[in-house]
Symmetry: C2
């Protein structure tokens, strides 16, 4: 019997060791450029960077607001790893002798007001945004001149699989906004909104609908002065942008929605139009849908505040008109003191007042894209079911 227990002990030790070995085995990040080995990630969520910089004095991996020193090997490569990061996508950069630069190993993503490096920590639920052999929708880029902002703007449009061939079918539309420091590329590049929808639709878990992802950075420019030859196009964006909610509201309602309804086979009514956004985009969604509940029927706010009973008192049509209010946060950002009050308490109170509300918490994630990917995955199946 004692021998038997020993065998189990040995098996347990071996199995634990194997498991630990597996956890610390580094693999290339899925956000790397084709053929690039670094950065690598392991199952604990550590990120390992490597760069050739033979004459540098120091090199650091700058991720999650912490700078990790890399060590130089005899060939001139600097190598080092971070503490474990949460599951999902993270922005990062390298610091070479004081210069903050993108890592030449990664693909680049627009966030924090710049195009920079990103890394993917494998998530236990990464299947929800995996590229699979299912029918795929299309992401289209539209450039248009905005009379309201007197500048060119860009919008990306996701059309679901079959849109091109099912020419008798019209579709509902979700207007989906990025966060502060991000732009109209975020939801497809980092958010993988197209893949999330392809997978949900293939599984029969969501109605097919169109998603419109616009530039919500809204720096209103004063009317051009005819006496002034200065070029305006290179003006740096202000932060926070002037008119971030109401300026964007005007172009969304007066320019983007009419453009989409005239160029796509939409069901162009309030019942079949939703708006959602993350962080700043959630706050824009709040301001815009409170004032335009005759335009939208379904509302999503991801890590971007909530709607309070007071808001609804001030905008009684909202309660009447909105078929779904979805509010979500990453578990690590929920401290009960969110902007505009406690978002969970606010949302629950609106539910008690008779609204159809959902409050979702993304497990073990912070104010990052994994929270928002999951939020879209939870939100989409609830849309346009009426």
């Amino acid at each position: 019997m004692k021998k038997h227990i020993s065998l189990w002990t040995i098996l347990l030790v071996v199995s634990t060791s194997l498991s630990m070995a597996q956890n610390t085995e580094y693999k290339p990040s899925s956000a790397n450029q084709a053929g690039k080995e670094y950065p690598m990630v392991n199952e604990k969520g550590q990120v390992k960077a490597k760069i050739f910089a033979p004459d540098a004095n120091y090199v650091q991996l700058d991720i999650g607001a912490v700078k990790y020193d890399l060590e130089k090997d005899e060939e001139g490569y600097w190598v080092g790893e971070s503490a474990p990061q949460d599951e999902g996508f993270h922005y990062y950069q390298l610091n070479i002798d004081g210069a903050s630069v993108p890592d030449p190993g990664s693909k680049y993503f627009y966030g924090a007001g710049r195009w920079g490096s990103g890394v993917e920590v494998p998530a236990h639920d990464q299947e929800i945004y995996a590229l699979k052999d299912v029918p795929h929708g299309t992401v289209s880029e539209h450039v248009f001149y905005s009379e309201i902002s007197e500048s060119f703007k860009r919008t990306f449009v996701y059309t679901p699989p079959g849109y091109e061939t099912n020419t008798d079918q019209s579709y509902p539309v979700l207007y989906l906004q990025h966060g502060g420091g991000e732009n109209e590329t975020g939801w497809s590049n980092q958010g993988k909104a197209n893949l999330i929808m392809d997978n949900l639709i293939a599984a029969g878990e969501s109605e097919p609908f169109i998603i419109v992802m616009s530039d919500g950075n809204w720096a209103f420019r004063p009317p051009a002065n005819n006496d002034d030859d200065a070029e305006e196009d290179d003006a740096p964006r202000e932060w926070p942008p002037r008119g971030w909610a109401d300026g964007f509201m005007n172009t969304l309602i007066q320019e983007i929605i009419p453009m989409i309804d005239s160029n796509y086979r939409t069901i162009a009514d309030q019942d079949h139009r939703a708006m959602a956004g993350l962080s700043m985009g959630g706050m824009q969604t709040r301001v815009i849908t409170l004032q335009n509940s005759d335009v939208f029927s379904h509302v999503g706010m991801f890590s971007g505040g909530s709607i309070s009973p007071k808001d609804v008192e001030n905008n009684p049509d909202f309660k009447e008109n909105i078929d779904l209010l979805f509010v979500s946060y990453g578990s690590k950002e929920l401290d009960g003191n969110g902007r505009f009050g406690d978002p969970r308490a606010n949302t629950n109170k609106l539910g008690e007042m008779g609204m159809n509300t959902h409050f979702y918490v993304s497990p073990e994630t912070a104010h990052e894209w994994q929270s928002w990917r999951r939020s879209l995955y939870e939100f989409a199946p609830l849309l346009f079911r009426n």
Copy 2:
């Protein structure tokens, strides 16, 4: 009288000085990230870089195969400029103490086998690809699973202005390929193919047609071995990729063209189908159209060789079937000894043999994107006129 001449001399000197001052005045490159001042360019084509790297030993601007040393100022910024570059788009990078990295000031473009920095030297003919307030087409991203290569592939599709609303109209299609070390993003990002077409169509100088831009990097992967658990997706791309012409030919003819014809309102016949490409893409066009002149009617090769009388002897259907053969080069890459013989002489001989041929030379440009933007601008108006 002498006084009068002096006045003219003074005016001439002042005017020349002003003109020279203007030529050396630096402005932000139009390929910069929003709000970023550097890199800058002047009218002589010099590129000026600037980066904060207080603890670096040296920093260089690496452009046009030359590394220019930057100088450090007292605040820790490194600043310096290149020799004049040709008009148009150029890839470049920074070298910080031996590390080759993207410049955080520029947007990023896929070339030389990586996502890296790009800079725009203003061109005298930049109006051909300027973003103007004209009707704009749409660039759409398609992901599909290629059975032939057993991997996911991506294709971008340009549809001309009005495609979404003119639902009774069908369109011809141009299959347009990138060069070696580039990918399916090149023609719209660096090439500005969409803007070139929008402008040509708005001016009534080109028929509206669809453009399909696919990944021509074709590394054939052997059939998966069931006993082998190794993941294949992270395999680095070979250079030159195996099957770069015939491997891509199979997927183009058997997979991409049928996919486009079933998802878009194309005129799905040989008369209304063209193929063109730059550099490696031109060589692919040569191989593919020589073997498939029943599939394509219009052929363009930009800085990518030419078709010789011998080729036509070996493929007699080509002469019979092809309505237009367009061959182009940058003036700086024409030394009379191109691959497959002298491209101008080859093309002229085919013209003498009765084919409809055009030979175009882009003035004062080399093997770079300005040659290819101009080539598309010259090629497009000749298409689908029969």
